[in-house]
């Protein structure tokens, strides 16, 4: 009988062309898809590929997206965009998605990801792709150049950390709270080199948008990647994205596949979490930080501005107005999301509460564009990192929370338990 394997091990084994793999093995994998963006892509990895003097190994398997500097009104950023466009044109690459949104959202939205794929992305949050049952890892630009040249990459087969979220999340509690709780409990190196597999009743009940938040922030646990076993919800999401044939049945982990560690989170008892500056592992129940004044609330990034994130925020602010003097920004994670949120009234609700809708892109998450924090400013955002200097100057401070928690803070001007507001709608 073949040895039972986790979903991740099955994908790696297929990509490596071997029968089975075991954690710790070092194997060379064929890459099904590579994604790169304007910051580390054409201008860095592209340049190195050109220096090597070889073509892209398989043009059909490369997706280039611009998102990092698209909202930055600065000549250097414009030059980066120009270079990306020229490089793509010169190579006649078929898959170029400029200015449409943040890469980790735009990639699946355009049907490029499917269960069972082995993918790499030139960005640390490429882990997001695991929400679709793909094995997707983030790599640096030189490594990416190596993939572009050869179509291969070496991988150490990771151990599995299984997160079992039991029960049902309470209203006002989101996937972001699950992952922040984990950051707080096991720390930013709690899953170093491992794959984090999210499972359990509460995860099964989550929408794909919410699962993406979990896999996105596997990066904040130090993990190689995160993954969620694909199911009917995955298939439906991908069908809508035009991904074509999706095989859910093959891409399941085996019963009895060994995992290194299992952590159980009681989903029903989980309170909203907020991470204090300047590390995601400074996470605690929102009540710990309640009352802390904030001058900016930002709903944005690949982590926290998907359609469902915007809807959650809208549910909190509906019929209310933002605190006087506070800056309240919403930057949808893609243009498609913006359009859908416009159609269903979500954007209007947010605007009525005083939110300013910004163009899509990385923007405030990396301290560029309108949502950049100013000197000595304190903000709360639905992004994934709050390191010193990440979202503004070193004197600025950033709290991380769910879209609900950010929206609640936007209304009161201080960190606030969003359940206080959600309760009224029950």
């Amino acid at each position: 009988m073949p040895k039972p394997m986790t979903l991740s091990e099955k994908i790696i084994a297929k990509a490596a062309g071997v029968e089975s793999v075991t954690p710790g093995d070092i194997v060379t994998c064929a890459v099904d898809l590579a994604m790169m963006h304007d910051s580390s892509g054409p201008r860095r990895a592209g340049r190195m590929l050109d220096e090597l003097g070889v073509p892209v190994w398989d043009k059909d398997k490369l997706v280039v997206i611009t998102d990092h500097y698209t909202v930055d009104p600065d000549p250097a950023s414009a030059a980066i965009q120009d270079h990306a466009r020229e490089w793509v044109a010169e190579k006649s690459l078929p898959h170029f998605l400029p200015d449409q949104g943040i890469c980790h959202v735009v990639l699946p939205e355009n049907g490029f990801l499917k269960p069972g794929m082995f993918c790499v992305g030139g960005d640390s949050h490429s882990t997001t792709g695991g929400a679709f049952g793909a094995f997707m890892v983030g790599i640096g630009a030189t490594e990416l150049a190596g993939v572009l040249a050869t179509g291969e990459i070496w991988v150490r087969v990771p151990e599995t950390l299984r997160i079992d979220v039991t029960g049902k999340l309470a209203p006002g509690v989101a996937a972001k709270d699950v992952i922040l709780k984990l950051c707080g409990d096991i720390g930013v190196m709690g899953a170093n080199y491992m794959v984090v597999e999210y499972a359990g009743e509460a995860v099964r009940a989550l929408s794909v948008d919410e699962r993406m938040t979990l896999t996105n922030m596997a990066a904040e646990l130090g993990a190689k990647t995160g993954i969620v076993t694909p199911d009917k919800a995955t298939a439906e999401w991908l069908a809508e994205a035009g991904a074509g044939d999706v095989d859910i049945e093959t891409w399941q982990g085996d019963d009895g596949a060994p995992v290194s560690r299992t952590i159980t989170i009681d989903g029903a008892a989980l309170a909203p979490q907020v991470a204090a500056p300047s590390n995601p592992e400074n996470a605690a129940d929102v009540t710990e930080y309640a009352g802390t004044p904030v001058q900016q609330a930002y709903i944005g990034a690949c982590t926290g501005a998907k359609l469902e994130d915007l809807r959650m925020a809208a549910d909190v602010v509906r019929g209310r107005t933002k605190a006087a003097g506070l800056r309240f920004f919403v930057a949808p994670a893609s243009n498609k999301i913006r359009d859908a949120a416009r159609t269903d009234g979500t954007l209007q609700t947010l605007e009525d509460a005083g939110a300013l809708i910004l163009p899509t892109g990385c923007g405030g998450c990396i301290g560029i564009g309108d949502a950049r924090l100013e000197e000595n400013m304190t903000g709360i955002s639905s992004t994934n990192r709050n390191f010193v200097g990440r979202a503004g100057p070193a004197s600025s401070k950033l709290y991380l929370g769910s879209p609900c928690s950010v929206a609640a803070a936007a209304i009161t001007g201080e960190i606030t338990d969003p359940r206080e507001f959600i309760g009224e709608f029950l």
């Binding site: 910051s39 790599i139 030189t142 490594e143």
Partner: protein
């Protein structure tokens, strides 16, 4: 300084846990400028003297989870351009680990970094996994580099390694 490029020798710069990529490469240091210029801002928020004082051949020593954060390669590149020839740490964030090695700079896991003080003179043999502390006379051991990466490090990093391989195949 050691004459052998593959056995770096220099002063130790010792820092703590979780040195993140936003500190090694703040956004202002890599958006508008080339790394040769941007490296001057490396670690600015933590130690404003570092970038100006570090010398060719020096060794960076960190605690756990060195290089946590983004995939931006400027983080290890800045260290390299400033003259850092090896990075020792209790543990590494995985993308930083690979990025550093890809630039041909040995990244070595060393459980005993606490025994190194800033300013100590170190000689590092990455292939043997050995660190000689010339100041204290101690010899520390590191996890040796995985075998499949030794050839890449010996070639000076991933790009020179691939160039060589592509030539051989041609």
């Amino acid at each position: 300084m050691s004459t052998d490029r593959n056995i770096p020798e220099g002063r130790a710069w010792v820092y703590g846990d979780n040195i993140d990529t936003d500190q090694l490469a703040p956004i202002k240091s890599y958006k508008n400028m080339e790394a040769e210029e941007g490296c001057k801002f490396c670690l600015e928020a933590l130690d404003a003297d570092f970038a100006g004082a570090v010398e060719d051949g020096d060794i960076f020593v960190a605690g756990a989870n060195m290089g946590i954060g983004s995939s931006r390669e400027q983080a290890p590149l800045h260290l390299k351009l400033l003259g850092i020839r090896a990075v020792l740490a209790k543990s590494f964030a995985r993308i930083f680990y690979r990025n550093t090695l890809n630039f041909g700079v040995p990244a070595l896991i060393c459980a005993d970094v606490d025994r190194i003080n800033s300013g100590d003179r170190l000689r590092v043999d990455p292939l043997k996994g050995r660190v000689e502390n010339l100041t204290t006379g101690e010899t520390l051991s590191c996890d040796p580099l995985p075998e499949h990466l030794m050839a890449m490090i010996a070639d000076g990093g991933l790009m020179p390694h691939l160039t060589k391989k592509l030539k051989q195949e041609a």
